[in-house]
Subunit: 223 residues, 2 copies
DNA sequence: AAATAAATTTAGGCATAACTAAATTATATC
DNA sequence: GATATAATTTAGTTATGCCTAAATTTATTT
């Protein structure tokens, strides 16, 4: 069986692969809040288990087996987040931390029971897709809010889940996944966004907007 | 923070203290499926943390601080068992194993939310008492079924939770905590028990009966 | 009281997974 | 293309928590 640490490394490699492409030892170490030397050590171990491809100074890649494990852990994490949110009422800025510990520990049986309870959901409380039993992820084509122009209408698709304070802040504007809004004005020179949510005008700073991903809506009247 | 292993040791010392009294290194090691030398090592560590009293060759005792931790873990375990059973439908012979992993990992917040969901319960699915938030345990005066005589009526109070196969077996007779029955006949020479559950006569072997604890009922007509 | 048996402890090792510090390789600059 | 800078790897250390084997202490028996 895999250790929790190994699972965390695989999950992180998967996520970094998604975003950037090449996953270097340094990037991985920074992501996991670990020294590069530690990452090198674990990567070597994962290589002997055939869960990653690796050549020194060249970065890491997941093998098919490694990707399967990574997706399994991500599925656990996101199902747990949604379960804690819906079944136990844990606030959305708290579910990440809790799921981080539970994801390594729940059985497949409990996973299946939560999945059933939740009605086989496809997204967690932050809008991140939940891989299905077979590791299939529904990819969305959402864009960072920072790419929006004046007058553009959209629906919140996803919000980064790691910073609890940021989530509370975003939640205070009701910017949950599924919420529709329209951009009233984008201030020039990398300034903040003024948006209209359900008739209320709200100002969102650029740094915050970077963490909000949206689906553009073509016809505002259809929202 | 304490490691999972340390928590398991404290929990085990508590349980052995409850049953037997003196807790020796050997007994503790056997209970935890570990070599005596390993137990000695951990006991020494726990002593430096002032969680146990210990003098070599003299056995271990929990300090007040150690008892608090032990009860906290036991509370987690039993709340989790009941939660998994009631909220997710995990069969009663499976909840122990699952809770064993989760008990070290859930937050006080989740503990409180499960407690509320369950209506502040006082016993887990096997009838074991759930310590309250302050570590107060309601002690019952149940006796092993093996002490029963012909004609004695009683109610199942508690069943040992560690052996999954045994639990399935006991469950097949419907001998869940709260179930009433009457002893029809105790076979002589350490023989099996014939009992009457809701009009059905069932034979329970002595080895199984040792793991079933009951509350005697004085007046059979009042059950 | 001495000898034997049983329990417990000490001593030394192993695996995991982190760390620091030094050596190496790769990349960027002049 | 040589050199400076940055990234990465190797080597050696630490802490957990387990192990085995040998030494010690306690308990029992004669």
């Amino acid at each position: 069986m895999l250790t929790h640490a190994a699972e965390d490394y695989l999950k992180s490699i998967y996520k970094l692969q998604e975003k950037g492409g090449k996953v270097s030892t340094g990037i991985l170490a920074e992501y996991l809040d670990v020294k590069p030397a530690s990452a090198t050590g674990m990567i070597k171990k994962l290589k002997t288990m055939k869960l990653v491809r690796y050549e020194r100074y060249r970065g890491v890649t997941l093998t098919a087996a490694g990707k399967t494990v990574a997706l399994e852990i991500i599925r656990h994490h996101r199902l747990l987040e949604l379960y804690l949110f819906k079944a136990l009422g844990v606030p959305w800025d708290g579910v990440h931390e809790e799921a981080e510990k539970l994801e390594h520990v729940i059985s497949e049986d409990v996973e299946a029971r939560m999945d059933e309870f939740l009605g086989y959901p496809t997204a967690d409380p932050h809008g991140a897709p939940i891989p299905d039993k077979n590791g299939v992820v529904i990819q969305t084509d959402s864009v960072p809010m920072t790419e929006l122009q004046d007058g553009q209408s959209c629906v919140v698709a996803e919000v980064s889940d790691s910073d609890s304070a940021l989530l509370r802040h975003i939640g205070s504007f009701n910017l949950y996944p599924g919420t529709a809004f329209r951009v009233v004005e984008v201030a020039p020179f990398e300034g903040p966004f003024t948006i209209d949510i359900a008739g209320q005008e709200v100002v969102i700073g650029r740094e915050v907007a970077k963490h909000i991903f949206v689906d553009k809506v073509e016809d505002p009247d259809n929202v």
